[in-house]
Amino acid sequence: MDDAIAEAPTEGTLVLDLDGFEGPIDVLLTLARDQKVDLTRISILQLTDQYLAFVAEARRIRLELAADYLVMAAWLAYLKSRLLLPEKDEEEPSGEDMAQALAFQLLRLEAMQAAGAKLLDRPRLGRDVFARGAPEGIQIVTKSIFDLSLYDLLKSYTEHKRREEFDTWRIQPTELYSMEDALEHLSEMLGRLPDWTSLASFVPGAGGDSLMSRSALAAHFVASLELTKAGRLELKQDGVFSPIYLRRVRSS
């Protein structure tokens, strides 16, 4: 990135202005241009030295270099070592290949920079050439052709019918004895309790097998637990499945 700004160095002579660069390849390209030779014959070795010097200088004057610049420096240092040391016969690309690839990148970026400049130099609409200032416009009369088959039409109707058939299906509210009702009922009866009384005797319609009476029993049982927890009621049961008795807590 070109965000590394050249802060005016307090000491030192060389002012590096990174502001003008578009990344490390761009720096390399600028350095290469300074060699004033055909880019295809550029000395990558020489270029590498120049770039490393550039980075060293930037660091010396404590210029904060973006990571890309340092990565490139590391890569070039590696390339340099590959170019200088005798090549081992390996699968890896040779130093020569790497140098060539770098040269290609430089050439390609330069070509794109030149192409961009050429494009911008062309007579441009709205700057150099102008369209008609006040076009009357051509009236475009659009005629719509609607795309609908008989099948689509029938399908739509049947889908509608199907939805309609089940549209009014409503779940009937279930009749259940609520716990709120049971609580109210029990609380009301509490005052009239002389002594242990069976739970079943409070339940309206107890013993019945209807959903309503079963739910009433359940609701009263839960309500009695609730009241016991609240300290208003005592519960007892003599054995498993035997009747449950309850009585009011006597205020001591």
Binding site: I140, K143, L148, L176
Partner: protein
């Protein structure tokens, strides 16, 4: 063609509004006899598809007035109908004559403004008689164009509900899995109450 005439032509062409002689003169150089140049230019374009016209003391290019109605381009656009529009058409077809209120009550949703317009534009529905009920609402019926488009001899050829069932389009079996799912919950709650 002189350089000045070329520039004059380009200026008049590019300007978003008509230009008066003085503005043109300022641009071309005060020694220019703009009047003569404008006359030349107007003469050149007199018989062309574009004319140089002088309106309200200012000059401007305009297309030749006699071409006005030819400057229309007819374009055909294929349009797909929305589900709502298709359903509305189907309901009109099967329930006609039907008022907008009835369509809405059958569909269970309000009919948006554009729906009937689109069907009218397609030439498939048209207003019928008013219903002799309070408010005298307009009814909607299908057109001959509707029959043509769908290849029907008459409205009687529209498949009825039995036909639709027989063809499998209207499947009589309920396929509402959501209700089955919801139904499981109720017995479960009862079981809890029991225990």
């Amino acid at each position: 063609m002189t350089p000045r005439l070329r520039l004059l032509e380009a200026m008049l062409f590019a300007s978003p509004e008509p230009l008066d002689a003085r503005t043109l003169e300022n641009r071309l150089g005060s020694d220019t006899e703009v009047g003569g140049l404008l006359a030349d230019l107007a003469a050149h374009y007199a018989d062309r598809g574009i004319n140089l016209v002088h309106v309200g003391g200012r000059w401007s290019f305009r297309t030749a007035p006699d071409l006005a109605d030819k400057l229309r381009v007819d374009a055909e656009v294929q349009k797909k109908l929305s589900r709502a529009t298709t359903e509305t058409l189907a309901i009109i077809a099967y329930h006609q004559p039907v008022t907008r209120g009835e369509i809405e009550s059958i569909r269970g949703v309000a009919t948006s403004k554009g729906t009937l317009d689109i069907l009218m534009e397609a030439g498939w529905v048209r207003p019928g008689k008013r219903r002799e009920t309070p408010g005298r609402p307009l009814t909607w019926i299908t057109t001959d164009g509707f029959l043509d488009h769908f290849g029907l001899e008459s409205l009687r050829d529209l498949p009825n509900l039995d036909d639709l069932k027989a063809s499998g389009l209207l499947d009589p079996r309920p396929v509402l899995t959501s209700i089955a799912g919801g139904g499981d919950a109720t017995p479960a709650r009862e079981d809890e109450a029991e225990g």
